[in-house]
């Protein structure tokens, strides 16, 4: 964040200083520095899951809060996300190998007629950071894509995203189809996107509207906790 940053040698920092520096580097969207920081922590025998949660998710949480408070704007969040993506690319294969905790599974996609995926990609990344397995269907998804994916992947959560007021009604088409097929209650349905609001989420029969990626993660965790409690009770 200052001109002196250029002089900092990451490998010479102790763990606590390095994590703090990675928070700064994430905030500033410095992808190469984040990749270097991840590799240094792994070299110091940090578990991949610890690197993910303490260094990357911790840093992105600060970014998310400042975005919500109007301190950061979309370009800066995208740069931070791009930096986190660099770190995640290193960690992902290691997380699978080391048996990191798994919170649940989510299928997510932008609805038919809509090609906007910035918000959806942020949600995917933050969900992965929180320990969810995410199957990302990409953009412009007709209902058949969602049905095929949930049949194949058997997720806990179905996420839908839309940026346009002309495309957001399609979320109801998907939910109504789930109802017709008698499988609506098998999944937690989360929806999000700039023109949506809580009222719309309720009106179309979603379980929750999530106004940003951080809320999506918290909401998903809540529903997973409820599901586990129900299973334990039964």
């Amino acid at each position: 964040m200052s001109e002196q940053d250029d002089e900092i040698i990451l490998s010479e920092l102790d763990d606590e200083e390095l994590v703090q520096q990675m928070f700064d580097d994430l905030y500033d969207g410095l992808k190469e520095e984040i990749e270097e920081g991840v590799n240094i922590l792994l070299g110091r025998d940090w578990a991949p899951y610890q690197v993910l949660t303490e260094a990357l998710v911790g840093g992105m949480t600060i970014v998310g809060k400042d975005f919500r408070d109007g301190i950061l704007f979309v370009p800066e969040v995208l740069l931070a996300a791009n930096a986190m993506k660099g770190g995640m690319a290193i960690l992902k294969p290691l997380l699978a190998e080391t048996g990191a905790p798994r919170m649940g599974k989510m299928v997510i996609g932008t609805v038919k007629g809509d090609i906007h995926d910035i918000g959806k990609n942020l949600v995917s990344m933050m969900m992965e950071g929180a320990g969810f397995e995410v199957v990302d269907l990409g953009i412009n998804n007709p209902v058949e894509n969602y049905l095929d994916a949930i049949a194949t992947e058997e997720p806990d959560i179905l996420g839908m995203s839309a940026l346009l007021t002309t495309t957001m009604p399609y979320m109801k088409v998907v939910i109504d189809t789930l109802i017709e097929k008698g499988i609506r209650d098998d999944y937690v349905v989360l929806v999000g996107g700039a023109p949506l609001n809580e009222e719309f989420g309720k009106a179309i029969g979603a379980d929750a509207y999530c106004r940003d990626a951080a809320v999506a993660v918290e909401t998903a965790k809540e529903y997973m906790a409820r599901k586990h409690n129900l299973m334990a009770a039964s």
């Binding site: 740069l79 953009i139 412009n140 346009l164 007021t165 023109p195 609001n197 719309f200």
Partner: protein, 217 residues
């Protein structure tokens, strides 16, 4: 949010229309130039115009409240108020607000649609989902509306994140202006998109204003 200026008559000379028959057009600032061109061109002296900041284009969640406040502010001065906003990303909230307030608004999802003509846009271009549209106004204001707010002046590498799924820039021309066409072509190049120019004229905007003009006299 309040409008930036007091209503201005469509022509410098106020005309001879009684105050009760005057029409106030509450419009997006991105339409000001075009609305004045239409009303002046037809000598509709009884139409006044007030605009809300065009930058609300980038914050559609603020449009409905801004229009509500503007209608409330001018309600006592005008019997006839017409809102020159389409849905513009409000998800039907602007229409509901206008219905509540008893004022009419222009139909359509956005200005790209009503410039082309809502029916034609719906029939021919509704599935054109990989097109990025610019109007005359947006070409003129490209840097202020897109390039800088999206951070592309500071971080050009973000371009491919924002536009990776777009394939072409469609310039909907309201006027024949070769310099503006070249500027639009340059915008397409900067975004890495194919370029297409479509002359639309004022489309449904002119038709609707004609209807409003006739209703109020």
């Amino acid at each position: 949010m309040s409008p930036r200026r007091t209503p201005i008559p469509a022509q410098e000379e106020p005309g001879e229309v009684a105050d009760a028959d005057r029409v106030l057009l509450i419009a997006c600032g991105a339409l000001a130039r075009e609305i004045l061109a239409i009303t002046k061109g037809h000598s509709w002296h009884h139409m006044d115009l007030t605009c809300l900041p065009a930058l609300l284009h980038n914050a559609p969640d603020k449009i409905t409240d801004a229009v509500r406040a503007c209608v409330a502010k001018h309600r006592d001065s005008y019997q006839n108020i017409f809102v020159v906003y389409a849905d513009c990303g409000t998800g039907g909230q602007l229409k509901s607000a206008c219905d509540d307030m008893g004022v009419k608004m222009i139909a359509g999802p956005h200005c790209y649609s009503f410039y082309e003509g809502n029916e034609r846009f719906s029939n021919e271009h509704a599935d054109e989902i990989t097109a990025f549209y610019l109007t005359d106004f947006l070409v003129r204001q490209f840097d202020a509306f897109f390039w800088k707010p999206m951070g592309l002046d500071r971080h050009p590498n973000l371009r491919d994140i924002y536009f990776k799924h777009y394939t072409k820039l469609v310039y909907q021309a309201q006027t024949d202006d070769p310099a503006l066409t070249e500027k639009a072509r340059d915008c397409a190049n900067r975004l890495g998109l194919a370029f297409e120019r479509r002359y639309t004229g004022y489309g449904d905007l002119e038709t609707v204003l004609r209807d409003q003009s006739a209703l109020s006299i």
